[in-house]
């Protein structure tokens, strides 16, 4: 197995990509996708720790956490899409730049 640092670095890069996506994307759905990428990075992180640390830790908690996380992420997306659709129906746009009636 490669050393754990490699895995962690890849996850970190993945996470960073997600963050960049949230910051630069204008479309709400794309922002959601970026958040999903971030969550995937976290999931992989948890799995990595669980697998690499199985001996010392004596538990699989990370993997269990990852399972829950996958489900929650899916629920979150469903929820978010509902709200985005509602926004689209009201404002005819999914562009977050334009959705800024509330400010200051």
């Amino acid at each position: 197995m490669p050393p754990i640092e490699h895995v962690l670095v890849i996850n970190a890069i993945l996470f960073a990509i997600g963050v960049m996506g949230v910051l630069t994307r204008r479309n709400a759905i794309l922002i959601l996708m970026s958040v999903e990428i971030m969550l995937s990075a976290v999931t992989l992180n948890l799995v990595a720790f669980a697998v690499y640390g199985k001996v010392e830790f004596g538990n699989f908690t990370g993997i269990i956490f990852a399972f829950f996380l996958i489900v929650v992420a899916a629920a979150e997306v469903a929820l978010a899409l509902g709200i985005v659709v509602r926004t689209f129906r009201n404002r005819a746009t999914a562009n977050v730049d334009e959705v800024n009636l509330l400010k200051w």
Binding site: L8, V35, V42, G53, E56, F65, F68, L69, V72, T87
Partner: protein, 514 residues
Amino acid sequence: MDVIDLEYALIIPELVLASFATLIVAGALIFRRVPQEVWGYLSAAGLVVLLVLTAVFYINVNDDFANVLAVDNYTVLFRVFFLGIAAFAILAGVQFAGDRLRHHGEFYGLIMFATLGMMLLAASRELITAYLSLELMSFSLYILVGFNKLNPFSNEGSLKYLLLGAFSSALFLYGLSILYGVTGTTTYSAIEPDGIEAGRNIAQQLGNFSAATIDSALPIPGDVRPAIIVALVLIVAGLGFKVSAVPFHQWTPDAYQGAPLPITAFLSAAGKAAAFAFFLRLFSEALLPAAAEWSWLIAVIAALTMITGNLVALRQTNMKRLMAYSSIGQVGYLLIGIVALDAGSLAESQDAATALVLHLLGYVATNVLVFTALIAFYNRTGKDDIVDLRGLAERQPMLALLLSIALFSLAGMPLFAGFATKFVIFQVAASNGHLWLAVIGVTVSFVSLYYYLMVIKQMYLYKPEGDDTGRFSVPAPMMGALAVLTGAVFLVGLYPAPLFKAIDASTAMLFPGL
């Protein structure tokens, strides 16, 4: 593997609440002929009954469920609290919802699901459960904020809340994952302090670090301090979002302004309280051994939050937004309580925890009072800008008086709860070695008086404007609720000692071995 002992009797309140919520939602769907208010009153009644039963049966139980939930006095305190606030929010919302919202069954049901999430959050002694409860609460709140489907503000608030919430959740989780990687467990602390069932737990692991910087039994070789710092920063970022700390607070004014008023009240009161309940339990049970690593962090955030919240509040014109920023300012004081956990001895840390919960309860009660008054006003006039309150003293003197009392309490004037609770927090912070935070807190308190007075000035010194300037009456149950809350504000302000002792008994649960 040991057989995990499942004592379901401990979580009956949560199970009942879940079923009740489902029943309400289903019932409203099936029995469409029943008027909507019935579901509201039914929900509120159910919550009150549950509250009483919880208080009666679960005091001093002090046990835990499956090593995952702790049912101790701390949990019971917050259970009672959340149920109470939810009942209040529902009662306040019944008339509001009747005129302006559709799908009432889901409205009440969602409030109850959110409450369920909060109760579980306060009880969690383990990260996975905590995260799930947190998301349960958050999802319900995302929907509730946007419940006014056709209102663009409501939509927008909900969208921003959701997207930023998801983003912050992801940050939070990343931090959690690193924490897991460094400690190898997600349990906060040992079940029994003398380690009869001392499995690996976070507090224990972090405690090991303080002694030596390297722990060879980890998958991450070398010094783990950078990893801990990163994990802490991310965790605090995520939690900071939920409690509206600066710089993670920007969703708050939009969500508060956009949401229907009863939900704003619920969000600002219970939402914040739940997040802090979690914050406190996590930091005092799990992360306390690493206090040196995070106390500066939270101190900086506390200072920023106090200053920013109060500064921006000065410039607000909308009541909901004003209350949002006022809440942000108050969060700063609460965060001082967290910082004060970093003290010389466990007893002093416990004092900090008690001070925090005391201020939290006082602040929440007062906030609910303000929002209920605003709801009463909104029900009649449909307006929520500050200038709309002009002349309220003439139109509804009792309402104006109670609202003024609440605002004075938030500003920290003596005789009211706000003074006593703030005094306690500042005093604890000062004696635990964080005097500068207390100084900032007191200074900022003075500043906050300005914008609270601004509102009071509108009510008392101006004549009512616009077309609708006659006297109006507030329905008796609402007035009753306002009176009860005001009484509580006075009581805590004049004689805080008994409440203080009660809270002390519950926070003692967080510091086993004390």
